[in-house]
Symmetry: none
Subunit: 129 residues, 4 copies
DNA sequence: GTGGTCTAGACCACC
DNA sequence: GTGGTCTAGACCACG
């Protein structure tokens, strides 16, 4: 489980961590019952305040992806992973719509967007490979 | 020149105004030498603090899209409109890449994205019509 | 008598005009008793508001370089031209001191300044020639 | 880090502060990664509005000499210190040229300027000592 | 009338 | 604690 965070990003630290943990659950990299690192351990690894990690765990618990047991640890709970999948899909649609709006204000045609999509999709694939 | 702003948005007021003014310049709705409303007038129209409008004008001047002259007014300067166009194009590419990254983590195929692009592009078109 | 003004300068219009008139008096281009253009004529020539020219004439009269006679015109009065010469000399000294302060914060040596002075002095000479 | 400001100067407070911070960076008095005082602390020290300090930090960030991180602080970033050095050198040249222009209109000779330079340079030195 | 600077408060999200 | 945004006033120099 690798988490990459950036202090220079405009997205909050806790948000970056949350997103990557959710992704890991979606990708089945974290499975039902897996134990997450302790707050202090995780904070040390990520070079981040314990308050930040606590907030991540609290949020994830409140959203139902994790269960904390005092004195024992924090465990993955894939209960409503389908809800997550849906919400992430809506997220993609929103980003697409936002991008299209910006593109239209520049008179970029649908065809140009197709090309761009083609190129960037393959690029990402090779970069990940 | 219509500016629409929302107090409930998470994007700052001054940012909303700035973006719409830049768009207007890009769309040639505002042309070289056009005078913008005075700070006070604009603040009144938008129901916003003068300081917020001032910040918009300061930023735009700093970015070179506007020239302010004390005692006279603030005027459009289309000097580096090409730079703006380029930066906005890069913005579209970034949004596209970001969306693709999210899509991939959900195993959404390129074909699905094509469909989504098709639908959302036309939807936006009819909404604007 | 040529007056050159720039709207983009950060020095006020009325100041630019005043300075150039004072220079003309110092250089004897304007002599005792010479009549200045009427406010309206001058404002037209310079493409400037009559208020701006009025302010220039008022200031110059208050400083004693000019005498206005209602209904007749405004006339040069070289009375205290020596005072002017002194004040301008002090101005040179202030500019020199200011420049030296900036230079020192950059560790520019006296020798470098000598060279710079040499070059810029001759440059200006040839440009004027 | 001592900052001296004057309310009676015709140069804006925020400009005075900005200039002195830039100088401190140039002189290596402020080094890469150093944390600047928090906005509120600094405003208190200087007996100035928080908005004035904020403007200073905003400008410096925009010019690349500083990086602000919400919830953490504002840090020195010596990235383009060379650009700064160059721009300051050009500033010296401009001041020198401006001074020479004024001097010439008074028929002050190059030799006189040499003398003046000599005197004022040493004067400043002893004043600083 | 215009823009430029400044003050003294406030609320928010983040760490 | 930090910086980011915003308000509702004010005074000034310039045209």
């Amino acid at each position: 489980m690798k988490i990459l965070i950036s202090n220079n990003s405009d997205v909050p630290l806790y948000q970056q961590i949350k997103d990557q943990l959710k992704d890991a659950i979606l990708r089945q990299e974290l499975k039902q019952g897996d134990m997450l690192p302790s707050i202090r351990t995780f904070a040390n690894e990520l070079r981040v305040s314990v308050l930040t990690v606590r907030r991540v765990y609290d949020d994830l618990e409140q959203e139902g992806f994790v269960v904390s047991q005092v004195g024992i640890g924090t465990f993955v709970n894939v209960g409503n992973v389908e809800l997550l999948r849906d919400s992430r899909r809506r997220e993609v649609e929103e980003k697409m719509a936002d991008m299209i709006a910006t593109a239209k204000s520049l008179d970029i045609s649908k065809e140009e967007l197709w090309q761009m999509l083609e190129i960037l999709f393959e690029e990402g694939a090779s970069r990940e490979a």
